[in-house]
Symmetry: C2
Amino acid sequence: MAEKIRLTAPQAAFSRRLGHEFADPSLLRTALTHRSHSSPHNERLEFLGDSILNCVVAHLLFERFPQLPEGDLSRLRANLVKKDTLHELALGLNLGEQLRLGEGELKSGGHTRPSILADALEALFGAVYLDAGFDRAKVVVGNLFTAKLDAIAPDQPIKDPKTRLQEYLQARRQPLPVYTLAATDGQAHLQQFRVLCEVASAALQTEGQGSSRRAAEQEAASRALEKLKA
Amino acid sequence: MAEKIRLTAPQAAFSRRLGHEFADPSLLRTALTHRSHSSPHNERLEFLGDSILNCVVAHLLFERFPQLPEGDLSRLRANLVKKDTLHELALGLNLGEQLRLGEGELKSGGHTRPSILADALEALFGAVYLDAGFDRAKVVVGNLFTAKLDAIAPDQPIKDPKTRLQEYLQARRQPLPVYTLAATDGQAHLQQFRVLCEVASAALQTEGQGSSRRAAEQEAASRALEKLKA
């Protein structure tokens, strides 16, 4: 920290591609430094960045899919933050050519190794967070993931759980689920509905609750899907 | 969201114990609502809050233990965010008496069930985040976890990896590790040291790098510990 660090021109260009200008350029440099090169290297930043990434993607999904139950949000997130996706995004940023690797890693092609690239990208998220705070990291991560998030929207999650359950069963040539209203509680303006969803072919019965019968059915269907896919 | 929500006096008191006054009290109410009670319930907030908690604790550990490698930080975090710890913190807040549970859960003692309490506490972290942003959630989580974090400091992680490796082997009556300098690279003011750590009893050899011989030894010891404990 004592010496004042100046970024190289390619590092500065990379920083612009990432979408963040670092107040403390040493953070960028550390995030790009693999442990085979020198210390400080990027592993601690990766630990931090991984949790920032998970948190930002959790919030982005939470906002985008206000009706989706927790289990679906978890699955979507797992798909977005996996190594393959990070590797692909790192390639889009030409991250490999900025990596600082030790001799051995360099010779064995470490700058194209998916895990090294994915880890460095996570470390960069940690570096942005330390440099400028969570909201800034959210913007950087959000911009990088916009296309991925948009790509989710049209298919699976925009379909509601009842539709997905129906399609799941039809694809397996199994009979459709049967929904029955089990109970209605509460006064007129605060009614709560309890609905049962029965999937006979799987000997499965789930329950859903909601402020409308439809909402209760959707929840019951969502839980049935979770169990069928478990 | 249409109706204006007013907290009950006990809810307002609970909110003060948690350390956050909600601009939108409906978030607090949702976080305290179990799925057995009504919708909206706290499962989506729990999904969000879990990631906030992980992220905040990651940063707190990152700051407190600037020398600790990533593997140690992960282990410490796993210990802090586990259900038992959350349950204990929830008890300290008297969270159970604020939970909104359905009839069945109420009768079967749901308000004392550790998983229900732990989940609701995570949901509360999500609610604070949505209500007032990440930095506010960090303060709330940080205050709750201060004692837990302080309790870590005196023992394990304050000891450096070389000391811990030595103690680990002594406890098992095995010979001490042998460190050898493998290489020194770079110019005088940017020297890099590579050190090997050999644990003969486990037929194990690890390597560490650093800007001093001692730093390289610590890293090699840390990796040896990781492998011995794997």
